[in-house]
Symmetry: C2
Subunit: 337 residues, 2 copies
């Protein structure tokens, strides 16, 4: 099934069931108000939502209305845990060669207040925290995330994977200059990572059919930047570690509790060799990757980071050609006064 959260003036929003083709929606009011509530009581509430989803898909839901992605908050607007892998295999190859080959998952902890798919990506721009659009290296990171149920501490990857309740797309906004500074300190990323943006819709893994296998989503993650396609990535191949392995890594010394979000980080496919030259025919999952590719090929980066006004679009289509999650469509903007 497909779930979303509409803006209603509250901090947690209002839970919706969305039709498979994303055309229609229905408030889940009679079943649950908030996404966290469903996650907390999944075994009881999810079947009721599945029934509503079936009715909606059959066109028989009595109070259905057209689904409007611009009304969406993140599917889970406030999360009690957000952790992300540093990125897929190609991301590590290009940007963190010193960290490749380690067995432990490369996870960092993040921020549980999340953006909706159409929210402007806002950056502070005043006083001591000035961010201009040229200075800090504003970058996107296209990826996937899972929202979990309860997973016991020390659970192996197969058991951890059973804890996956929902999948979503992510755009992990990144300030590259601050990331470099924070990386040097070794304490993870704080100022370098503003709120992550999520697709309008979160879906249960069965919505991906056979494309969801081995704890990975074997579908194409499409990224466009100001209308130009820059990434057409096989999101399954891009992940060296499965979501089961990532959740197990997060839970090695503690329980992973219900409503935790575990993200893939930036996803892109590894280089191939053609005519004696390396190439990345499926594009990139963030601009830092593109700049690293350019540096490898030509000795220096050529692509500039994002500017205010730039538009990003991230989407994933199923084998039937339908958008699985709806698109993240954001514009980069300075912070509102």
């Amino acid at each position: 099934m497909k779930l979303a959260t509409y803006k209603d003036g509250s901090r947690d929003g209002q839970l919706l069931v969305v039709s498979r083709d994303l055309s229609q929606a229905h408030y889940a009011t009679g079943i649950a108000q908030r996404m966290q509530q469903v996650l907390d009581d999944w075994n009881f509430l999810a079947p009721q939502l599945e029934d509503l989803y079936a009715t909606l898909n059959q066109g028989k839901a009595r109070h259905a209305f057209p689904f409007d992605v611009t009304q969406c908050m993140a599917p889970l607007p406030r999360a009690f845990q957000y952790a992300s892998a540093l990125g897929g295999a190609n991301h590590l190859d290009l940007l963190y060669p010193e960290l490749t080959g380690l067995e432990a998952p490369l996870l960092y902890q993040g921020y549980g207040h999340l953006q909706g798919a159409s929210d402007k990506a806002l950056f502070a721009d005043d006083g001591a925290t000035a961010i201009s659009d040229t200075d800090p290296g504003i970058d996107f990171e296209a990826g996937l995330a899972v929202i979990t149920g309860d997973v016991p501490a020390g659970a192996p990857p197969e058991q951890a994977l059973d804890g996956v309740r929902l999948l979503t797309l992510t755009n992990g906004w990144t300030l590259r200059q601050r990331l470099a500074e924070e990386r040097a300190r070794g304490l993870g990323f704080v100022q370098a990572k503003p709120a992550v943006a999520f697709s309008p819709v979160a879906v249960t893994p069965d919505e991906l059919g056979e494309s969801w296998t081995g704890g990975r989503a074997h579908l194409t993650l499409q990224t466009t930047w100001n209308g130009r396609t820059v990434g057409l990535c096989d999101a399954g191949d891009a992940m060296e570690l499965s979501f089961g392995q990532l959740i197990a890594g997060l839970g090695a010394t503690r329980r992973v509790r219900v409503g935790s979000i575990v993200a893939s980080g930036a996803l892109s496919n590894r280089a191939v060799e053609a005519d004696g030259r390396w190439d990345w025919p499926k594009g990139y999952g963030c601009i830092a990757e593109k700049r690293a590719m350019e540096t490898r090929l030509d000795g220096q980066p050529a692509t500039a980071y994002l500017k205010f006004g730039d538009r990003l679009r991230i989407e994933m289509k199923g084998r039937d050609g339908l958008s699985v999650f709806g698109a993240i469509e954001q514009q980069v903007a300075p912070r509102a006064a």
Copy 2:
């Protein structure tokens, strides 16, 4: 006022108002069920809770009952954000000399699922994630934390400090071996930092009277380890940066939203020189500090990390001699099967 959360079988527990001397409590049921609910709607709900608090302190609350700290969860059992400073000035001097002298706050992001004051500190002990009690360096970190309201992105420290709603004590459980490994990777701490423990009670800053000044709590943080006092730290002097500065650092590039927890990390006082030899007369805030002191003085550490069965107690008394927050009293134990 003083607030706590009782276990009631739910994930968020039941909100209590606790009397100033911690002897009596009263359910806040008629006003609010959960701590996050109060934080979300502070200006409306806090005055009602203050009224109940006054009535309770006067001995006139009709359904008051004896307060039992063993029934407490963390005051905010699930938090949408947890960030901690790496530690106080002495902690950095001893353990992170390479990071001292930086202007930016040294913050890392953590885990929003929190322990109660009497919960056993549990560590996974099976399979690939084996933790014995000698191998991983189980350590405590005695400190303080604030729970915030909404703070705008880019707020300066004075404005950020206005966002403090509540204060609590913290015990930041740490696995030193994993911390060293994770520090080398530079992505922050994940497996090295199991759930943080909190004092039974969270208090509004006015409960500290004149001891709350400059964004610091100028009271003595007392730590005992198996009944022996190991820390008697002036928690105000121990913090190089105020809580206002820490919150402002966290919020440099994004809003700090209501219910965020910002912690001090391990607190202890700096060395003094006496008879040509350095000394730390007020003790230590974690065992790693003690081992670093020993190494400075004698060339090697002498104090072992915690063993299963060890007991920790962390408390802070006001100038009137009363316990401000109640004590964190935990025993180190392997993970239950």
